[in-house]
Subunit: 698 residues, 2 copies
């Protein structure tokens, strides 16, 4: 591996700057960890006031450290961080873990030091993990630059955690379980190396079978999506986001100074990038462990064999909730099962062998269920009982798993009497869950990954016929204003060839009549005035005007009315637009997310928007599949397909509008929000028309 991140996991030598002789200091723990887990490289404690630590020679300065040295671990105070890192750079070391805290997480003063530090380390071409982190581990090389007590066994999961403390907690959680890890990286403030870098790096490491990420906020969401889209084709990425909602986001920003970003944008981005989102810390590891050890199921049919019907019923609820089902066991196999099991046993699914079950019972039932072509997932369940040989049962499960090609998950609902069995199962790469409800998310993780692998590669939907001059003209019309009314936003839509309802701005009654005659009666009249966004609430709209005479009166009345009720509004005139024929009303819009950029939205339009909240999001750029999925997942989308005898709506026209609006958002980063509501959708082949629109600029 020639990646600049390689030294964090397999440097030939590691220097620990600030290594202490005091066993109560974290830096002592780091040196100890570097010596305790089979790391074969050199370890160099650096400390001007010590001679020896743990039998190692101590070097007074980093300049004194001999080759090979490829990684510096820095535990010195923030007050001397600049000179320290300069010395590291001068020594020619290209990778450093900065454990030291006191940067961005403490506010602007610390953020400034962090920016200065970044400039310095960049000038040396160094890669930095941290600051404010707990370091890195490779379970394969034994390089452990953290002060965490204990190290998991080697295995398939690479774990990337923004929070070092939480990472340490996770290691404490899994230490006794034999769940296997390949890498651990705590990224802290991510001054340089961030999750996306790590994901890209780990994507190429053959020891890594699955990447588990805990984060509080990403930077450069667009690059994250691009990288994850590629890596997800090679191995699954499982992702837990903290700071999903208001309270969580507040907790996050007071913690590492991250911006939590909009959770809706995260959900959309993760899905588009093939990343498997989990909801809890526990799920992060049950799902990753499953993906790291099990083959993807062919289909969603699960067979259970159990000594406790209740546990099977709870598992069945969970798998059903996550879209899996109970396999129908072949009647011949049911008969075969019966020949050796307790006569009171149930041989349909779940196979319930009653409380006092033997290892042989499990072997027999699993062997037969494995032979059933209608079964994709095997799920043995044991609730420990007085007379049951729990370790023996675990061994029977392991033996069958070795012979089986099916997805294999197990449940062992206990704690006091189950540790030995749990360790044996995990050691053999057989995921074991304590609670029946943990099965559903694990299965869904497998299925999500399978669906991603089966989906076509991302190809951005193409948009032709954009008139950049017209767009520039619209932006010029807007000038310095932030709120863009319909008059200018119509021109923007036109520039991207999105059909508006026929009409134009009238600045006098005469002009209004001229426009109406051109587009045809009946027409609608809408006030156009700077500083007046809610036209309808102010009485600024007049519908269904039938002829010239009515229009003249309406125009003059409207101008006079607005001048009276909104004396501060700068009236420009009124839009005259043909009354559109009725059709299905949808909303198409874009809100620029601070992390991911243009977040497109689609859903039920008109006045029901707020009540139904039938809105779906995707991050642009979009593929055709993204757009179809965005439409499909809404009630509006189901209505479009034809409902209770109504004709199917013009799906292609809607797809085209979404594609064009997303191109508009990509091309014009100064547009913060833009929205067409309603877009009226007519039956297949009859197109769409934008009835109203607005935008907000940066």
């Amino acid at each position: 591996m020639s990646s600049s991140l390689a030294p964090f996991f397999n440097a030939k030598g590691v220097a620990v700057l600030g290594a202490s002789t005091n066993p109560k200091k974290l830096s002592y723990g780091i040196v100890n960890n570097l010596l305790s887990h089979g790391y074969e490289g050199k370890v160099y404690p650096v400390n001007p006031n010590a001679d020896e630590i743990l039998g190692l020679k101590v070097y007074p300065t980093i300049a004194d450290v001999p080759d090979p040295v490829e990684l510096a671990v820095v535990v010195l105070p923030v007050t001397i961080i600049m000179e320290t890192m300069k010395a590291v750079g001068e020594r020619g070391i290209k990778a450093a873990v900065v454990i030291t805290g006191g940067f961005k997480e403490l506010g602007e003063e610390g953020a400034k030091i962090e920016r200065d530090l970044k400039a310095l380390t960049d000038s040396y071409g160094m890669r930095i993990v941290g600051p404010n982190c707990v370091g890195t581990m490779s379970m394969y090389t034994g390089l452990n630059s953290t002060f965490i007590k204990g190290m998991p066994v080697a295995g398939p999961i690479a774990f990337v955690s923004q929070s070092g403390a939480l990472g340490g907690g996770v290691i404490d959680l899994v230490l006794d379980s034999n769940i296997g890890f390949s890498h651990f990286a705590s990224l802290g403030n991510q001054m340089d190396v961030n999750e996306t870098d790590m994901i890209e790096y780990l994507g190429d490491d053959p020891n890594v079978k699955v990447i588990a990420v805990y984060t509080e906020g990403l930077t450069d969401g667009q690059r994250f999506i691009r990288v994850c889209r590629e890596v997800s084709r090679k191995k699954p990425i499982v992702f837990l986001k903290a700071g999903k909602n208001e309270a969580g986001a507040k907790a996050v920003s007071s913690h590492t100074g991250s911006l939590a970003g909009s959770y809706a944008a995260y959900q959309a981005a993760l899905k588009q990038a093939g990343v498997i989102e989990v909801q809890t810390l526990s799920e992060l590891f049950t799902v990753a462990w499953t993906l790291g050890t099990q083959p993807l199921p062919k289909d969603k049919r699960v067979a259970m064999t159990t000594n406790a019907g209740g546990a099977a019923a709870l598992a069945a609820d969970s798998l059903d909730f996550y879209g899996f089902s109970l396999a129908k066991i072949d009647p011949k196999i049911q008969e075969r099962l019966r020949t050796k099991l307790n006569p009171s046993a149930q041989v349909s699914n779940p196979v319930d062998m009653l409380g006092s079950v033997s290892p042989a019972d499990y072997a027999w039932s699993l062997e037969n269920l494995d032979a059933d072509g209608g079964v994709d997932v095997l799920l043995p369940i044991l609730v420990p009982q007085a007379l049951v040989d729990t370790p023996g049962v675990a061994q029977a499960w392991i033996d069958i798993k070795k012979k089986s090609k099916k997805t294999f998950l197990t449940i062992l609902t206990g704690k006091h009497s189950t540790l030995e069995a749990e360790q044996a199962l995990n050691r053999a790469g057989v995921p074991v869950f304590t609670y029946p409800d943990q099965v559903g998310p694990a299965l869904k993780g497998l299925w999500d990954h399978k669906e991603y692998l089966d989906s076509p590669k991302f190809e951005q939907v193409e948009v032709k016929g954009v008139d950049k001059h017209k767009m520039a003209a619209a932006m010029k019309l807007v000038g310095e204003r932030k709120a863009v009314g319909e008059y200018e936003s119509r021109i923007m839509l036109e520039a991207y060839d999105i059909p508006n309802v026929p009409g134009d701005l009238a600045t006098s009654a005469d002009e209004a009549v001229e426009i109406a005659q051109a587009c045809g009666y009946p027409v609608v009249l809408k006030i156009v005035a700077e500083g007046l966004l809610h036209k309808s609430d102010a009485g600024g709209i007049k519908l269904n005007i039938k002829d010239d005479e009515e229009l003249r009166v309406a125009y003059d009345n409207l101008i006079a009315h607005i001048a009276k009720v909104e004396p501060n509004a700068k009236i420009q005139g009124a839009m005259v637009e043909r009354m559109a024929e009725k059709g299905q009303e949808v909303i198409v819009g874009m809100r620029r997310d601070e992390t991911f950029g243009p977040m497109m939205m689609f859903g039920m339009g008109g006045t029901m928007v707020e009540l139904l909240k039938d809105i779906n999001f995707k991050i642009a750029p979009l593929s055709r599949e993204d757009i179809l999925a965005m439409i499909d997942e809404t009630i509006a989308g189901r209505l479009m397909k034809g409902f209770r005898g109504s004709k199917p709506a013009d799906m292609e026209a809607v797809i085209d509008v979404i594609a064009r609006l997303s191109q508009l958002a990509i091309d014009n980063p100064e547009i913060e929000e833009i929205e067409i509501n309603p877009l009226i959708v007519y039956p297949e082949g009859k197109g769409v028309v934008a009835i109203d629109s607005r935008a907000i600029l940066k």
Copy 2:
């Protein structure tokens, strides 16, 4: 306690029928358990082929057992169960735990034995727990009639489990944690004693602070609601239902032969009865343990103090999701906090004291947060780290908790290094969670219980003016049919004084005109024909008929059309009804649930019903509060309150219709389903009108 269930937990003597001298037998385990946990009553093994078990004298038959003996535990085969139980009855024992399996759970043959057994034990006035169960425990008397290894410490939680195996698993799970239990009862097939009986009994036991129930299906849901409504006023009931959906229900029915019932009905019933529903086995105990040890919070403001920002962020997400919020810490208290904490610590909420925290830091932060009147819940969080004294931190938490009156929950995210601290916390009655996301459900449990205690006592809404003769007449008209069309269902609604749109059945064009003249044009014409429920699909409806002439033509055409397209339909004529004015369309209906009886429903009506699935359920009888809640939780309900300038709808008229339809359902158990769709709701004071209705009889 003079309850007939008392002997299951504090009999003065217990006989074990089928006690074996073989330590590998379950019955040996039972005798051993009766001797091992401080039970002070007499223990009598019964076995004609043994002299001594575990130092106890063995009696050849139950008749030989001397007084005092108040409970029989039966482990003999189903083949001799009748004679065994007869002997128990003859001996005058009024309570028995039947561990033996081979009854209802194996199908009809077993179900018959179970019915015979019930008749026998009823004739002796005996109460039976089981069959097919693992027995009962009292952590206070030490009476343990199970063969489960180990017994939890004494504490507040009474645990009632339909599944014995799962109950045993739970005990294995909590055994090392010091979570305290008062009772354990595994009910098995519930031939006699069911959950409701147990809940009623435990409701009166002062040692019980909270009742945790795991079940797969209830019997007599109406009694369950009545009993739980009362018991929930005294102590919280926490409830986990297995068999929620198709797969789970299938797993359940092949297990104990229970009917899983409709989950929607369960959800409604639990809420109405003040029972706190949880979703997972793990939640059942975190929520129960919280309710059993913590005071209810005054409000929803949580203060966290942590050494790991990430864990706090995940906890904040969880509490926000469940409706709690981060307290705003008084600035004066923030200043005080700062005086003793690490200068880099965050003193807003969450108080983040950074990784290497001391017990004194927690004591200081908690003491100050406890003094903040704007804080209702204290939530210290620790992720174990190399230099942190985890047991010392736990002790600091316990010390503050003893002085605090606030709700107090704790998070300790670890396993390898946290057992000692976890045990100390639970022993002191301080709930400790491993995962940050476990906090939300626990807090919600407290809040749900508080809201129930604050709600008015159930008072059934009163319905007057029911015309039972008219109802009887309608039923007579229906005769033997199961499907009831609008003609008869209108009469049923009339009998309960629910307003129908004016109209009547016409059997000729002349009659049609007569009816139309009476109710006023325009009218609608709807075919009435036996065996034709979907009038509209068959072209059996003609709208907006304006005068006599048009009506005559329409009538004749309609009859001719239906005779042609539905030659098997028995045409009775056509309903002639006034075209109703437009208004908000809602649906009001009832479906009789196999477990709970009349399940009322309310939601958005008309053609959007299927698409929006905006339906809410409650079990009748209903209080006014039930009806209001049922309406409130729907989109239809929000629309009724006035939306975007529309006038508020006639809420009282809708409440009245729901009350009347639920009375109709209660009075007429032969009605399986009845539905008004749409019911048109007019603005406040203008009432409602039923436009169409139908019913299905048993």
